[in-house]
């Protein structure tokens, strides 16, 4: 490194990669960030850095960073801007928000953010909070809510000390989940078998002992086929199913509800009923000495009743090997072997990727795999604590218990903006969320939603696609330029960390927290908007919540602090057990983890027109649209490419490197083709995150739909099914 001056090293936290918060050492010379390197943790498994974080100086000192507030001139998206002062920017925003709130109601103001500081503002204004989880990450939590009663059930199925087998379902952990990959790698080095199930032969798949190429979105059929094998071979972990799942609970044949004591005993309780094979009588679930039946039909209360496990078995019997193979396009022998290995290589860790849940019925895929784990007893009852650690992820509201924002799912916000249902959204504030680049059905976003918004504010470091459509653009600073509290958001990390201010904010940029404070004070929203960042962190740490017990700012300044352990056993489902059968899902015909064909698959009628399954996966070369403008990463991965199997390319006369157009009724995108064997025939892929100008035309999100899944809506919120879209691809000029 060149340059003089004393170098200081400050420990902080990388804010680049979604869902991962690595500790880093920032080297500062003459007030400038010059280098980063990985920082140590008490548990050495969390010491980690990646190529993206090593590009931090390129991000911070990028020539295109926004330097001062901007006001739109001319039409939205025209690209003409006027520099304004912060005073003018905040006065304009305050008056527009006040005006729109008075005209359309407080919920007509909406925030779509990845920056928690805004929760305070949205709370104080009782505005709408658009949950970014619906942008591709909601279906898995929805499925786990049903199975386990928590949004994040991964630790039930991955947190084993020494697994005999790790199965990666639709996830490229080596590229996107470093702490999971560390566990997988260590398990592999200790002798565990590694299996990858994916339509793409990913980096992670390349390290596996066995690779299963699966037709996208058919995972529940694979699981049901496996459960059928396990049933036929009598390999079910009956102890686990009986003791920890709803398996033995009798289900009424007439209405699908669990039979309750009150159904068979006048004045009886609400207890679940099992069939005791010792006494050949129904018994309450907790009756001592009973031996509950997992199979059979019992006539009680004038109706046929079956144990929930019998219903699961009945469903699985509909998926004999040949049928499961026909649906999934995985060989019957492979399905059979993998099923048996779930019982012979215990404990088996099931790593479910987020790609898995980006098909329309992705919640069912998550549920199916949780069910397989339960049937084979591959669920860790003790490892779970992460949901509790997440409490502070929403800590922005700790100080503001009396006012709350209205949460709204992302896809419902499309309706709210487009049609005013259930209520209109008229002002939208985006921060750390590149809505106009990354949300599904981009043409709908730009052509139908943006024009209906009366006021758009974007706070960002760069002139993103979203900023280009804003009325006021606010320059924010990077995570090196302000203090914040970083809670453990990775599924495995137990550490609370402090992100200190390492360098001063560049140009006129401000932290989102300072923007919130200054606007809140200006709008007279309360004294708490006068709290400094440090005082705010201290207020959270002294909130009395058990998850921050014993954690102080001084301790955090010394290094990462482990969040207090949480005594959590069992499941937070209605029954208190793992629920592969859910009463609440009957209305959707999804009381069991049924297989439903993806809504846009090659076997749907639409495939006659658009035969290819389109994926838009994540990579090591960026994080969503963040870092797409960083030169060092573009040196490694220069431009967007459409990945296609040679079989599909030959059928279309497409050669490697040809300019092609991928299209459907929603839109089109023009880019070069990358022809290789790593993607299965019938599927195509573009790595998401590229900015509009990187494409010759269109964008990766022009092809995706924003269709709401009502079952997910009822449980949690509908996911963007970005891996469940049909397209056709042709050589450019021939489409």
């Amino acid at each position: 490194m060149s340059g003089s001056g004393e170098e200081k090293v400050v420990r902080t936290v990388c804010g680049i990669v979604d869902g991962v918060r690595c500790g880093i050492l920032a080297h500062v010379r003459n007030g400038a960030l010059v280098k980063v390197e990985p920082a140590d943790f008490p548990d050495p498994r969390f010491r980690h850095i990646c190529a993206r974080a090593l590009c931090s100086t390129q991000l911070v000192y990028h020539q295109d960073r926004l330097r001062y507030p901007l006001k739109r001139l001319g039409e939205r998206g025209e690209g003409r801007w006027q520099r304004i002062s912060w005073d003018e920017a905040l006065d304009t925003i305050a008056s527009k928000l006040t005006e729109i709130r008075a005209k359309y109601g407080h919920e007509s103001l909406a925030w779509a953010i990845e920056v928690m500081a805004y929760i305070r503002l949205a709370s104080a204004l009782e505005a709408t909070m658009i949950n970014p989880i619906g942008f591709g990450d909601a279906a898995g939590p929805c499925g786990d809510q049903i199975s386990y009663g928590t949004h994040y059930g991964d630790l039930y199925t991955i947190d084993f000390e020494s697994p005999g087998m790790c199965v990666m379902w639709g996830g490229n952990f080596a590229e996107t989940k470093p702490f999971c990959w560390r566990r997988i790698r260590e398990a592999k080095e200790r002798g565990a078998k590694l299996v990858a199930i994916d339509p793409r032969f990913t980096t992670s798949a390349s390290k596996a002992d066995e690779y299963l190429s699966i037709r996208p979105g058919t995972d529940p059929a694979l699981v049901l086929g496996m459960i059928n094998v396990i049933l036929e071979r009598e390999l079910v972990d009956e102890y686990f199913v009986t003791a920890h799942t709803v398996g033995p609970f009798l289900v009424r044949g007439d209405n699908g509800l669990f039979l309750r004591e009150s159904d068979i005993v006048p004045g009886g309780s609400n207890k679940y009923i099992i069939w005791d094979t010792q006494t050949n009588r129904p018994q309450a679930q907790d009756e001592e000495g009973a031996t509950p039946a997992l199979s059979g039909v019992y006539h009680l209360a004038g109706v046929e009743c079956r144990p929930a496990f019998q219903l699961l078995a009945d469903l699985a019997k509909q998926y004999p090997l040949e049928k499961a193979s026909e649906i999934t396009e995985v060989a019957p022998g492979t399905i059979e072997r993998l099923a048996v290995e779930h019982t012979t290589r215990k404990p088996v860790a099931s790593y479910r990727g987020m790609g898995l849940q980006r098909t329309f019925h992705g919640d069912l895929s998550y549920r199916a795999i949780a069910t397989l784990a339960a049937v084979t007893g591959n669920i860790n009852l003790e490892g779970y604590s992460e949901g509790y650690r997440r409490f502070l992820f929403n800590g922005g509201t700790i100080l503001f218990g009396d006012r709350f924002p209205s949460p709204m799912p992302l896809l419902q916000a499309y309706e709210a903006i487009a049609t005013g249902q259930p209520y209109p959204i008229k002002a939208l504030w985006l921060a750390g969320h590149n809505f106009m680049n990354q949300s599904p059905d981009n043409n709908k976003v730009l052509k139908e939603l943006v024009p209906r918004l009366e006021f758009i504010v974007v706070a960002d470091m760069f002139m993103t696609a979203s900023a280009q459509h804003a009325d006021v653009v606010l320059p924010t600073c990077s995570f090196f330029e302000h203090l914040d509290l970083v809670t453990p958001i990775d599924v495995l990390s137990p550490y609370m960390q402090l992100q200190p201010k390492v360098i001063e904010p560049l140009y006129e940029s401000k932290s989102d927290r300072d923007i919130v404070n200054e606007l809140g004070s200006r709008m007279g929203l309360g004294e708490e908007f006068g709290l400094s960042a440090e005082a705010y962190v201290e207020a959270i740490l002294s909130s009395g919540h058990p998850s921050v017990e014993g954690i102080t700012l001084d301790k955090l300044k010394e290094g990462p602090v482990e969040v207090p352990p949480y005594d959590f056993t069992g499941f937070r489902t209605p029954s208190g057990r793992m629920e592969f059968y859910s009463e609440g899902m009957r209305q959707f015909g999804q009381e069991l983890p049924v297989y439903l064909e993806p809504i846009e698959s090659a076997r749907q009628p639409l495939a006659k027109q658009y035969p290819l399954s389109y994926l838009s996966t994540h990579t090591k070369y960026g994080n969503h649209s963040l870092m797409a403008n960083v030169a060092w990463l573009r040196e490694l991965d220069a431009e967007p490419l459409l990945e296609m199997n040679p079989r599909d390319a030959e059928a279309r006369g497409i050669k490697d490197g040809d300019m092609v157009v991928a299209f459907n009724d929603r839109g089109r995108v023009k880019l070069k083709a990358k022809i290789h064997q790593g993607i299965r025939p019938g599927a195509v892929n573009i790595n998401e995150g590229w900015w509009h100008h990187h494409y010759a035309e269109g964008t990766h999100q022009a092809l995706t739909h924003a269709v709401i899944n009502p079952a997910q809506m009822a449980v949690f919120e509908p996911n963007s099914a970005m891996y469940d879209n049909l397209v056709e691809v042709k050589k450019a000029g021939e489409e």
């Binding site: 850095i49 080596a174 560390r182 390290k207 090591k620 490694l636 490697d656 064997q677 790593g678």
Partner: protein, 193 residues
């Protein structure tokens, strides 16, 4: 055996993340290119496998200056600008180098590069400036999967020497006779040729 700093790279652990590549750029101020690059062994492009779907294989191969015991680049340099230190690190003396590039084709591994701005040849220094301070090369510090180990190959008791023995690690192109100081642990599917 004389002191010889070198690396052992575990190809089973390498996930082709290019973290070493970017770490090298950052540490050595390389705006364009890097002194360690990661090749994909498999298909026609970076990150693509060989074979036919779904019977596929893909590996990653980090390539850098091998700090050879008998460096052909040194022998090819007409100015004596390339030299081997007593610790085994091979360096280019930028003062002496006049940018003639005769060393480039001499290297069996193709890891020397010409820098127009300095009019000199550049390559991996094994982070000699860090090694002198008792630190590891920065690519080793940053490797995502702890796939790269640094140490003295001349000491049969060093951790790198033990890994080489235990994992049957081998060098690339031994037939070139340069005696490289970068070893590779084979993947489970076998040795990378």
């Amino acid at each position: 055996m004389a002191k010889q700093y070198g690396l052992v790279i575990d190809l089973e652990r390498c996930i082709g993340c290019h973290t070493c590549t970017v770490a090298c750029k950052l540490e050595n101020g390389l705006e364009a290119g890097s002194w360690i690059t990661v090749q994909t062994i498999g298909g026609p492009h970076q990150d693509t496998p060989g074979g036919k779907h779904p019977q596929l294989s893909m590996h990653f191969l980090p390539v850098l200056c091998m700090h050879c015991d008998l460096p052909p680049c040194r022998d090819a340099c007409p100015l004596g600008a390339i030299f081997k230190r007593v610790d085994g690190i091979v360096l280019v003396d930028e003062e002496k180098c006049d940018g003639c590039q005769e060393c480039l084709p001499a290297c069996p591994y193709g890891v020397l590069s010409y820098d127009v701005e300095t009019n000199a040849v550049g390559k991996c220094t094994l982070c000699a400036h860090r090694v002198e301070k008792g630190l590891e090369p920065f690519c080793v510090t940053c490797c995502e999967t702890e796939a790269i180990c640094f140490g003295n190959l001349g000491d049969s008791g060093s951790s790198v020497s033990k890994v080489i023995a235990q994992r049957s690690a081998a060098t690339l192109k031994p037939e070139a006779g340069a005696k490289p100081a970068v070893y590779y642990c084979p993947t489970r599917q076998g040795r990378i040729q």
